[in-house]
Symmetry: C2
Subunit: 197 residues, 2 copies
């Protein structure tokens, strides 16, 4: 029997990671987020920082130079190698037992391998901007610019490896706005949905 | 104080209308769907069939000839007149008391006038095709074609009057797939969300 897995995709700054953690706590199941990055680093041999960046974001620059630059027909980029390791780790975790997985195209990777609840978490731009400043501090770039950059690169990465559009409502069983509903209530709805499956 | 209103946008054949009815029943509040069409017909003087068609779907043909055809700067099309009547009726209903409103850009119309829960209901194409055949019977066109046509015209209508993208996850507080979650559970989640607000 396939395990139940909650796969959370989220906009940067939406609080999707916290929603995942809270839902997992309510359900008494593990939530893989930073642990996942550690496991992928071990599997691939790349350092955590590289995995964190290249396992979810298309490289800066245009799509061609970013994703395919330096790749010929027979070779793989670093990004590809991380993708293969990521895929393997996520499939193994889903086989081990029920869990929550945050990000990293888990919704796509687990489409046939788990009884998957595909969740998309978003929030309005103002709430996201405030959240990233309070969570990660100020940076040279304006918060709106940081959000746009992250979203764009996450979407490009997702499109490249899944051939689907990131954030397209059709790819998710449930999509929730934390700025309308609140992080705690979003976690509660997801946990309830998991229990009713 | 603003009334709580659940505004349901839905893909054709997703069961969104039934979700709305069930949620309203659970909450003991009215659900406006066919009643709404009747009221708009009375307000505008157009017959129900015209209101049903032109109050939610862009006219066949291309966007220009459909929406703007025959309109000069100072005059309104039939579609515009129905839009004004529809807007008035929806605002009045939301002022009267808490309710569920299915379709007709209520999410947009009520953005400042009600404490609105904006819902989008969708389903996978196979489930929708089966549903429209069982609900509305066969027609000359294949079900997939009927779905594509309705979606396209609903999206064009929504874009024209709201300047927003229909079905874009960012425009809704919650989006649910009836083919993954089930119609009954979708209604339960929405009713619960309404009660927690």
């Amino acid at each position: 029997m396939k395990n139940k897995v909650i796969a959370i995709s989220r906009e940067f700054g939406s609080g999707g990671r916290t929603v995942g953690k809270l839902a997992a706590e309510k359900l008494g199941i593990p939530c893989y987020d930073q642990d996942l990055i550690q496991k992928i680093a071990e599997e691939s041999g790349f350092c955590k920082e590289i995995v964190e960046e290249k396992g979810e974001y298309a490289t800066h620059g245009n799509w061609f130079s970013g994703a395919w630059g330096g790749r010929d027909y027979y070779s793989h980029t670093i990004q590809d190698n991380i993708w293969f390791a990521q895929r393997k780790v996520i499939l193994e975790l889903a086989q081990k037992g029920p869990c929550v997985i945050v990000g990293r195209c888990a919704d796509y990777i687990l489409q046939d391998a788990a009884d998957c609840i595909r969740v998309f978490i978003h929030a309005d731009p103002k709430a996201r901007a405030e959240r990233i400043v309070s969570q990660y501090g100020e940076s040279e770039l304006a918060p709106e610019r940081r959000l746009r950059d992250k979203d764009k690169r996450r979407a490009a990465y997702y499109q490249l490896y899944t051939d689907k559009k990131w954030g397209d409502v059709k790819n998710y069983d449930i999509a929730l706005s934390t700025s309308s509903i609140g992080i705690e209530k979003c976690a509660e709805i997801i946990a309830d949905l998991y229990n009713s499956k």
